[in-house]
Amino acid sequence: MRKIERFSVLEYFVRSLFGILAIVLLSVIMLIAAIFLLSDQPLTSIASFFAGPFSSLYAIGNMIDHAVPLAIGAVGIALAMRSGNMNIGGEGQVYAGALVTTIVALALPGWGLTGILVALAASMLVSGSVATLSGWLRERWNVSDLITTFLLSNIIILVVDYMVAYPFVDPQTNLISTRFVDPSYHLLIILPPSQLNIALCIALVCVLVAHLFLYRSRTGFELRMVGDNEEFARYAGVDHRLYRILPMTLSGALYGLGGALAILGTYHATIKGFSAGMGWNALLVALIARFKPAAIIPAALFFAYIDAGARSAMFYSDVTYEIAYIVQAVIFFLISSSILQRIALGRRRV
């Protein structure tokens, strides 16, 4: 009996791999078709799209570096979604986390590692609180978290925009940006000359911890119970109210962390609008990963690859960057269809 089961798990794995490959293949075909349609030099465009991200260590490192905040944000989203909560305010929470880190770093120059920890903690606290508010509003007054996270995020973006443009603006640059943080706050680069830094390790740790938390801890188990069937969780004595708030806090905090690490590792200053898209993209990464922490790493890398490919194609040929959106959208349409999935997995009915 055990043997049969193992075989079926292996078979399931092979089939789902096959399914994902089929979807990737299909979207690659669509991408190539789109490039032929839009580009005057399609072969150059295709080559630079697919090979560009791997053309040098520099390119590879930067691609992975871009995946880092996405992965961290996606871990948070996975926790929120697995518990039946919704947080689409990532844009604001990432941006706020970035600004808070910058402010702390500017306020405490030369604090080194301690300063980094304080800055990260502060950004997680602020972004976490914002998401907690949405969670609490839903728990207490049944206010749709979908709507409050979105509206709060828009307000925060404007507030941060203001902070960057006025109180904290660096008058010596042409950009609307804060001053650069002290070099003692820069995270260690691990793949020079690229910008890949030890934030990658933090992202990996986040994924690992989230995986263990979800599948190996009582709290994680209860969180999944609430997400799967809240009625059942209540029946089994789980305090379901806690799980309307805690996962929101965690997802907000992780968004904040993602933004903070992007500052300390990559940007070193909050530039107006620098994180635009990060929140949505992290949500998309989590969706591709189907809210499974282990799948977030490949999903984030894949996402970053398409992004880098589109950038490279834009740089070396006549294709616009937005082609990445099209590819991503097509993948979403395909990946979210449970019919296609079932065909890929070879199951006839459920």
């Binding site: 009996m1 089961e5 798990v9 263990l212 599948y215 190996r216 801890s217 009582r218 709290t219 188990f221 209860e222 999944r224 119970m225 799967d228 069937n229 009625e231 059942f232 969780a233 209540r234 029946y235 089994a236 004595g237 009915r349």
Partner: protein
């Protein structure tokens, strides 16, 4: 005379459970007759009727309607052939008015293309008038009583000129008055030439209303009788087979220990209800006994369960576990936090998480044991689940989603899970509802075994046979209050006939204490 419906050797196997829901079933409905389709829960009668109405397709067999082959049934096709079905769970849009519901799909429109609201209303009003229903065409369905909602369902069918009407358990939620009026309506429809199929398992109703009765058991048609020629006992025997009512043998035990569970003066009042949902309920459960709570559904058992689960705050009274207050006016939900084993009536949505693994469902109510608070290995969880699966003879693997199991399998997992944590009390609500004979017998054996081991069992069930077979003492509920109490000595000779006036609320017993 051609039959209204003829179904020949219908076979249906559900792919999910591989259960033969219908096995070579032959079925005939004559014109203008009222036929009862009887059988226990899970006998296959609903499946047969869903096939006729086109909601599901059969694997093999042939259907003739008024002598014409009915090859590809679907609800639309069924409607065109004059077949209508009133479902057990009403298919009504609560937010719409009676008129809107009745004409839905058959709306009259003015030449402009807009709805002709006056004409729609008149059509419905005329129909109401003709059948003497107590409805107004402008009422919103959500404000109606259950009986009225059923009338709306029947109106929907009448609007479509059905001549074959299927009613699925139509009386299960009705009061006696409403049942009487339903039966009057059905007889009148019959006199207009409508053939009626009544899916039911209530014997006295079968005798009362139908011309013929077709009995199903375990997916087969076991007999068709002229109702006048058979007694209720005959029908019951046909429904239940040879093993009959004696599912388990009871051994009386004399125990005078302190109660494990006490419920004192519990009331549940809602301002939009004309009578209390629960009215001054008091009882105790002692170790080593099964206390039965019986009622026809809709008479307070559901509310009692909700209160015990902590889903509804009580208006007065309290619930004690030994001396500890679990639920009172200021407290709800502590029953579950206290971890009292509980088998809920809604096993699919309250009792388990369908998409989660069997193993996760098994440990869901003993989380502290398996996650103290971390557990890096899942081996312990898997082996514990395998152990339960083996002990309770469940056909499943630990890592399969529980939703892939049969209803009986799911209930066994739930029961096994709860039994494993029993100290001295378990609450079981409708533990065998809709299960096949074998699973039912298994669960009954388990419950009696628990009682013999000294556990206090609170058995809440609307299945009267089950209550009579299992309970040591009995409380009968009617309209939210206790209409009768039977002590252990009275239980020995209690029959269904003696019980039914209390169930129906026609008689009340004025006894204090239990």
């Amino acid at each position: 005379m051609t039959a209204a419906v003829r179904m020949k050797s219908i076979t249906k196997i559900y792919p999910e459970t591989q259960k033969r829901a219908n096995d070579q079933v032959d079925f005939t409905l004559l014109p203008a007759e009222i036929l009862s389709l009887a059988g226990e829960n899970g006998a296959g009668k609903s499946t047969l009727m869903k096939i006729l109405y086109g909601l599901i397709s059969c694997d093999s067999g042939e259907i003739l309607v008024h002598g014409q082959p009915f090859a590809h049934p679907s609800p639309i096709e069924a409607g065109k052939r004059g077949i209508g079905m009133v479902h057990q769970h009403f298919m009504l849009v609560e937010e719409f008015t009676v008129t809107e519901n009745v004409v839905l799909g058959e709306e009259s429109t003015a030449p402009t293309g807009l709805l002709d609201r006056r004409q729609n209303r008149q059509r419905v009003a005329a129909l109401i008038e003709k059948h003497h229903f107590s409805l107004s065409p402008d009422d919103r369905v959500m404000s109606l009583s259950v009986g009225q909602k059923q009338q709306v369902e029947i109106l929907k069918m009448l609007m479509r000129d059905v001549n074959i009407l299927i009613l699925d358990e139509p009386t299960s939620v009705l009061t006696q008055l409403e049942i009487d009026s339903l039966f009057t309506t059905l007889r009148k429809l019959q006199s207009h030439g409508v053939s009626i199929i009544l899916i039911t398992h209530k014997l006295h109703e079968i005798k009362n209303i139908s011309d013929r009765v077709a009995v199903m058991r375990e997916g087969r048609m076991v007999g068709v009788y002229e109702t006048a020629e058979v007694s209720e006992e005959d029908i019951a025997r046909a429904m239940m087979g040879d093993e009959g009512l004696s599912v388990v043998r009871k051994e009386r035990r004399q125990l005078n220990l302190d109660p494990v569970l006490s419920v004192a003066h519990l009331s549940l009042i809602r301002h939009n209800q004309d009578h209390p949902l629960l009215d001054d309920i008091s009882f105790t459960v002692h170790p080593g006994e099964i206390l039965g709570c019986a009622a026809i559904s809709g008479n307070g058992l559901g509310q009692l369960e909700s209160v015990l689960l902590g889903n509804l705050p009580v208006s007065s009274g309290e619930i004690l576990y030994h001396d500890e207050v679990l639920t009172s006016v200021h407290h709800t939900a502590t029953t579950r936090k206290r971890g009292i084993p509980f088998v809920p009536s809604d096993r699919l949505f309250t009792g388990c998480s369908l998409s989660a693994k069997v193993s996760d469902n098994v440990i869901a109510t003993s989380r502290k044991r398996f996650f103290p608070p971390f557990n890096v290995s899942r081996k312990e969880i898997e082996s514990y689940t395998s152990h339960l699966i083996e002990t309770y003879g469940i056909s499943a693997t630990p890592s399969a989603p529980i939703g892939t199991l049969s209803g009986g399998g799911i209930q066994k997992v739930i029961l096994a899970r709860e039994i494993e944590r029993i100290r001295d009390l378990i609450i079981c609500c409708e533990p065998t509802w809709g299960l096949d004979v074998n699973s039912t017998a298994f669960i009954h054996r388990q419950i009696v075994q628990l009682r013999n081991d000294g556990v206090g069992v609170l058995l809440i069930s609307s299945n009267i046979d089950e209550i009579l077979a299992l309970a040591d003492r009995l409380l009968v509920f009617s309209r939210g209050s206790v209409s009768a109490r039977f002590s252990a000595s009275q239980m020995a000779s209690l029959t269904k006939e003696e019980l039914s006036p209390f169930l129906l609320g026609k008689k009340r017993m004025e006894v204090e204490g239990a």
